[in-house]
């Protein structure tokens, strides 16, 4: 609720809203829950970082973005992911607009944005956990549109991830459909080799036959 409110320009100590508004918003959030169908896809690639660009040889992808290259500095691998909350929510928003219920549409749209953001965080966590298992540390995620990374690359990422299977496409103007979808890249840095300390050394003698 808090996140949705602040997205709707709610100021904690200034805004005064009555119970009716809060009920209206919490009802809409609940409605939003039933319209969300989260799906995601990710893949981890080898990544080569050079001045101002990041190469993914396996995926035959080159991203020219000094900002991304800086963020991924030191990474040997990078995960690309796409996620979406599905198209039902956007359809409903448009339905409300058509009926002239702009307030409800606006709140529901904000719910969708927050849900997509929260979903991206979840995928982020999943990739981090996976990376940790394999001895990598993950850096904060970066999306097309941040800094100098052009959103034209969104379409390329979607293609590599075959995002059609989760129902995400890019339009000719490089907008993702359904609207509430996110693509991003997460750099993975190999952690230092940390051998396990031989605490109980004397008991382990593997050469003993």
């Amino acid at each position: 609720m808090g996140l949705v409110l602040s997205r709707l320009k709610f100021a904690k100590y200034k805004t005064k809203a009555d119970k009716k508004i809060f009920t209206f918003i919490s009802d809409t959030i609940e409605e939003g829950y039933s319209l969300i169908e989260p799906k995601a896809v990710y893949e981890i690639f080898e990544a080569a970082i050079k001045a101002g660009e990041v190469r993914f040889p396996e995926a035959k992808l080159v991203i020219k973005s000094p900002a991304l290259a800086k963020r991924l500095k030191g990474a040997q691998k990078a995960a690309l992911f796409a996620c979406t909350i599905g198209g039902d929510l956007a359809d409903k928003v448009n339905g409300y607009v058509a009926k002239g219920e702009i307030a409800r549409a606006t709140v529901l749209d904000a719910v969708g944005s927050e849900a997509a953001e929260a979903l991206a965080d979840r995928i982020d966590d999943a990739i981090k956990a996976k990376a940790k298992e394999e001895g990598y540390a993950a850096v904060a995620r970066f999306s097309p549109g941040y800094g100098d990374w052009t959103i034209f690359d969104q379409a390329k990422i979607l293609k590599i991830l075959r995002s059609g299977k989760i129902g995400v496409k890019a339009t000719k103007s490089y907008i993702m459909v359904p609207e509430k979808s996110v693509t991003a890249c997460i750099g993975l840095i190999k952690r230092g080799q940390r051998p396990i300390r031989k605490v109980y050394e004397k008991n382990i003698n593997p050469t003993k036959k």
Binding site: L8, K9, Y33, I102, T106, P195, N203, I204, N205
Partner: protein
């Protein structure tokens, strides 16, 4: 050699410790290499570790095959060696154990690829992959199969079903790992895990890995009351710490063994170690647990269901359990339509709503003629599980659909239903056994519903006996003696109620679809509630009802004491069948603030966005003789201005502004009928569009809704509108201002195009731009007349632009 399960009755057995961390220690396992591959390249090494553990006192050793599934091996390019690797794993362990009589447990770990809906692997594929691995382990020689360190209960279920299928009589041990001893990564609690695997018939239920012994004590305490199976526990040697750049497991063998004694006291039958434990830990375990008799845990059989995260139990406190009946397309056109289109929006909404109202179990029925129920029920179950923690009741007449749903469910569900027909019994009972489900038994058979209570109980008894023969415990059976409409056969109420009483005496819980009783009668809600309270007095345990009916919940909570006599039943029938015409006493609605002056009320209606009442206030003002234009300019517009100010001071936030605008729109709609053409002032025309390529138009819609109340003529061209169309429409409608919206950096360049075209054509419309990524600087750069940050600012800008125009 004695069978392991026989020995467990009288002994606490010791498992070995870690293999993986010990292998890393030896240096034979290079970083990034496959531990299971060592079964082929270094069998001597693996064997020596097994021997170390046996020497230290392990009664059971685990094969080096934790990551031996085809999927995990594929990460090292070893998928084609999967069979050999697993076979060798078992063979090496078997050879090492030969002289000591230690048992060999075939170790199976998670696949590392998630099953739907968490991932893209299907349940059936997962079962197949586990089967391949377990088959090879069995061939190499195992005394039991251990499924360990699972975090997703559905994946563990797949592994278990594979193990039962392939391993046959070999005992199966199922273990999950719980973070902090409380929840698995995907939210499963130890109790929810225990309930499902007790029902699935796992021989040993337990937990391993996690953060250390202390946390696992919590998990064991939670598992204990929910199972009568043997319990196992293999903790890590504490939580790994980084010291001087090295991973270090802090728990010493002494303290590890101290906890082990506590485990034994809690009733754990098998104790060993996971990551970080060594033969010294096991040696210490052996010395403290030697000759220890297992403690008996207390297990009370009860009807229990579970979801991925939660257990629902029938007991004196929870009785009656409520099964929500709303996810059922019978008589619901919109739900039928949705199911036909393969959507689940209504299903999810109903699931949320029913859970919120307090339903304990959600019935899922998606039987629509002409639809493949096997597919629709899977997506329905998936949708319900995504939004609700309540366990599921699978409601279908089609055994194929039931089986697909059983695979999808991440807990112990109820199957609704089986009846006395042989065909049904033979198809549904084995499914309940295989997937660990409870069953709702309808007391009818080929001949229909028996007239009297006795015959109904007889059918129930027959089905219960068949189930018992398959190994389904009686506490997993719920009997529904069936409610009939009293409008047709009033005497049937007595039979139903007496059947409940008899079942209760014999120790069987009962369930009813309560609302059937009032079919065809007026005042159904009252009759339902009355019958429900009577049925509860007779001993009803579960009720299938509509959770939105608050009356029923009231009855369920009250648990009113009523006599269970024939006289009481007669009283109920009389009340139900001779309905008093209910006099419709319509309360005159007194609206709050009625005493206030209508002008004040109108103003407040705008300030608080009261869409519902504003039109009636307008009517009132008009009938009081206030001129339409005065209402507009003296009341509505000033009130809107206050809203704008409040937004500027951040006292109001976006929804309040829009709701006010919507209220005023309704007021205008009414006022327009009063204002004669010509009397209306022409304040100017605005054409608004979201530019080509952009489909985000929520911002544009907000602007229109706010701007719409200030007397301008507004043309909304919609979204993704080409520059040519925008210009054409502006010319055609003699617009004063063109408003352009764009949300993306890729589409905002279209704004520039529109303005360039305008200049080229020598058209001097004013232009106003806005949208998430648009800035004042950008507006200036492309030569727009103005940039509006938000809808309120747009109102002021339009005002001044119009002034410039006229």
């Amino acid at each position: 050699m004695k069978k392991i399960l026989t020995r467990l009755k009288n002994e606490v057995l010791i498992y070995d410790g870690a293999l993986g961390t010990v292998l890393q220690e030896t240096g034979a396992l290079k970083a990034g290499a496959c531990p299971e591959e060592l079964n082929l390249s270094r069998p001597d090494l693996i064997r020596s570790i097994h021997l170390d553990y046996i020497k230290a006192g392990a009664d059971i050793i685990e094969t080096n095959s934790f990551g031996g599934s085809r999927i995990k091996l594929a990460a090292y390019g070893l998928e084609n060696d999967a069979e050999r690797i697993n076979y060798e794993a078992a063979r090496i362990a078997r050879a090492a154990a030969a002289s000591s009589g230690a048992y060999v447990a075939g170790s199976v770990g998670p696949l590392d690829r998630q099953i739907t809906p968490l991932g893209d692997l299907s349940f059936d594929e997962a079962v197949k992959i586990f089967e391949d691995q377990i088959r090879a382990l069995k061939k190499g020689g195992c005394d039991l199969i251990i499924l360990e360190t699972f975090a997703d209960i559905k994946e563990l279920k797949a592994a278990f079903i594979a193990a039962r299928h392939v391993a046959g009589e070999i005992p199966v041990q199922a273990q999950m790992t719980f973070e902090g001893g409380e929840r698995s990564t995907y939210g499963t609690s130890p109790s929810a895990f225990a309930v499902l695997f007790n029902s699935l018939g796992s021989d040993i239920i337990g937990t391993n890995c996690s953060t250390g012994s202390k946390e696992l004590i919590k998990a064991i305490k939670e598992i204990r009351p929910y199972t009568n199976r043997f319990i196992s526990c293999q903790p890590n040697a504490g939580l790994p710490e980084l010291r001087n750049g090295r991973t270090y497991f802090p728990e010493s063998p002494k303290s590890f063994a101290k906890y082990a004694v506590e485990f034994a006291k809690l009733g754990v039958n098998l104790i060993g170690g996971c990551c970080g434990t060594t033969p010294e830990h096991i040696n210490e375990l052996k010395s403290v647990l030697k000759n220890r008799k297992p403690a008996r845990g207390k297990y009370v059989p009860a009807f229990r269901l579970s979801s991925r995260t939660k257990v629902v139990e029938l007991n004196a406190k929870t009785r009656p359990l409520i099964i929500g009946e709303r996810i059922n397309p019978t008589g619901k056109k919109d739900l039928q339509e949705e199911i036909r289109n393969g959507k689940t929006t209504i299903i999810r909404r109903e699931a949320i709503e029913e859970t919120k109202k307090g339903a304990d179990i959600l019935d899922v029925n998606v039987g629509v003629p002409g639809c493949r129920e096997q597919e629709t029920i899977v997506s329905a179950v998936e949708a319900v599980q995504a939004v609700s923690e309540a366990p599921i009741s699978i409601d279908s007449a089609n055994p194929l659909a039931i089986e697909e749903a059983l695979k999808e469910v991440a807990g112990k569900p109820l199957i609704n239903s089986v009846n006395g027909e042989e065909e049904k019994i033979n198809s549904v009972l084995p499914l309940a056994k295989k997937y660990g489900a409870a069953i709702l038994v309808l007391t009818l058979d080929k001949c229909g519903i028996p007239k009297d209570a006795k015959a109904r109980v007889k059918i129930a008894a027959r089905i219960i006996n068949k189930a018992a023969a398959l190994g389904i415990p009686r506490e997993d059976m719920i009997i529904d003696p069936l409610t009939l409409a009293i409008s047709a056969k009033p005497e049937q109420a007595k039979e139903t109620l007496n059947a409940i009483k008899t079942l209760k005496k014999r120790g069987f819980p009962s369930s009813l679809g309560v609302s059937n009783v009032s079919f065809g009668l007026p005042n159904r809600r009252k009759i339902n509630a009355d019958f429900f309270s009577l049925a509860l007095a007779f001993g009803l345990d579960l009720a299938i009802i509509n959770p939105s009916d608050d009356n029923m919940f009231r009855v369920a909570k009250q648990k009113k004491k009523r006599k269970t006599t024939d006289a009481e039943i007669k009283k109920f029938l009389k009340a139900a069948l001779s309905p008093v015409e209910e006099v419709a006493k319509k309360k005159l609605e007194v609206k709050p603030g009625e005493h206030k002056d209508v002008k004040t009320r109108l103003k407040e209606a705008v300030l608080y966005g009261d869409k519902e009442n504003i039109v009636s206030y307008i009517e009132e003002a008009l009938s009081n003789g206030i001129a339409p234009l005065e209402i507009n300019s003296r009341i509505l517009i000033p009130a809107l201005e206050i809203v704008g100010e409040k937004f500027g001071k951040r006292e109001y936030f976006l929804p309040q502004v829009i709701l006010s605008a919507e209220a005023v729109q309704r007021a205008f709609g009414r006022l327009k009928k009063e204002i004669k053409p010509g009397e209306e002032e022409d304040k100017g025309t605005i054409v608004i569009a979201t530019v080509e390529g952009d489909i985000h138009d929520i911002g544009k819609n907000i602007v229109i809704s706010v701007l719409g109340n200030h007397g301008y003529k507004i043309l909304d061209l919609g979204r993704s509108v080409p520059a040519d169309t925008i210009i054409k429409e502006a010319v055609k409608n003699k617009a004063d201002i063109i408003g352009l919206s764009a949300l993306m950096t890729t589409t905002m360049i279209q704004m520039e195009r529109v303005i360039r075209e305008l200049k080229k054509k020598g058209l001097n419309f004013k232009t106003m731009v806005g949208g998430a990524v648009v800035t004042g600087a950008f507006a200036k750069e492309i030569g727009a007349s103005a940039y509006a940050r938000d809808a309120i600012e747009a109102v002021n800008i339009v005002k001044s632009l119009m002034k410039e125009r006229r």
